[in-house]
Symmetry: C2
DNA sequence: TATTGACTTAAAGTTAACTCCAAGTGGTAT
DNA sequence: ATACCACTTGGAGTTAACTTTAAGTCAATA
């Protein structure tokens, strides 16, 4: 698979994919004789994994650390598990923040609805 | 309330609070005769609101837009409601991304647990 | 009176995560 | 053969959201 194909498949720009490789988030992608990347299953699996983690806002540095530990092998299982648990904690916190904000947005939208329908006075609205 | 007190209350640095004011996320804070900020209820309410929205990752520019509309008054109710609805949609998407990532993290952590307990071979693990 | 400490400002600096650019290579279509 | 196109690189540029810095004001304390 060429970088253009992978780019389309995962909706990441070629630049972003090359950046991920340069940063070590993806193992070195195989090349043809002209030095052009030829993505295999493993490369794609990593891209998909990184994309998922990034979509939740996990930091590049953390992912780099995880990938580094992964390549060190069996000795790092404990450390990797701890890293993932820490990230899970972070995401659970983030989820709560978003939930709280969503509730607030829902309330405000409801209030605006009532104002629009004349059920409520505009000047009674607060930040 | 001084900026130091507000800073402690909302766990935002004084610099961040001044930055928010400069950017127009908070209405102009009242000052004493020496030009020192004296935060009133309204200022605090705005800070609290902005903090909540920011904690969910809502952008400064969007919040600036919302605040601007707010000060324009009743004419902008429809536009404000639409803005908030758009942000709600964004947050719902983000929530889904985080949920998907959390599920994946849970699975991986479980796998690492099983490896640690010798129930699973390390080399069978994938990205 | 001198200094301490909390406040003020405008403007420059930082960080993360891309994103773009310029210059170059090689395979293919006209 | 020549032009085109997708790819390559290192490195510079961008953006958001702060964060730091330098220089200054004022009230209270030693």
């Amino acid at each position: 698979m060429t970088i253009a194909e992978v780019s389309k498949k995962y909706e990441l720009t070629p630049d972003t994919i090359r950046y991920y490789e340069k940063e070590g988030l993806i193992p070195k992608v195989p090349r043809n004789k002209n030095g052009i990347r030829n993505f295999d299953e493993e490369s794609c699996a990593w891209i998909e994994f990184i994309k998922c983690m990034r979509s939740a806002g996990m930091e590049i540095e953390i992912l780099k650390k995880y990938v580094e530990l992964y390549w060190k092998g069996a000795d790092t299982v404990k450390e990797r598990k701890e890293l993932l648990e820490e990230q899970r904690t972070r995401l659970l916190k983030k989820q709560q923040d978003i939930n709280a904000t969503l509730e607030r947005l829902n309330y405000k939208i409801k209030v605006y609805d009532e104002i629009q329908q004349g059920k409520r006075k505009h000047f009674m609205e607060k930040p």
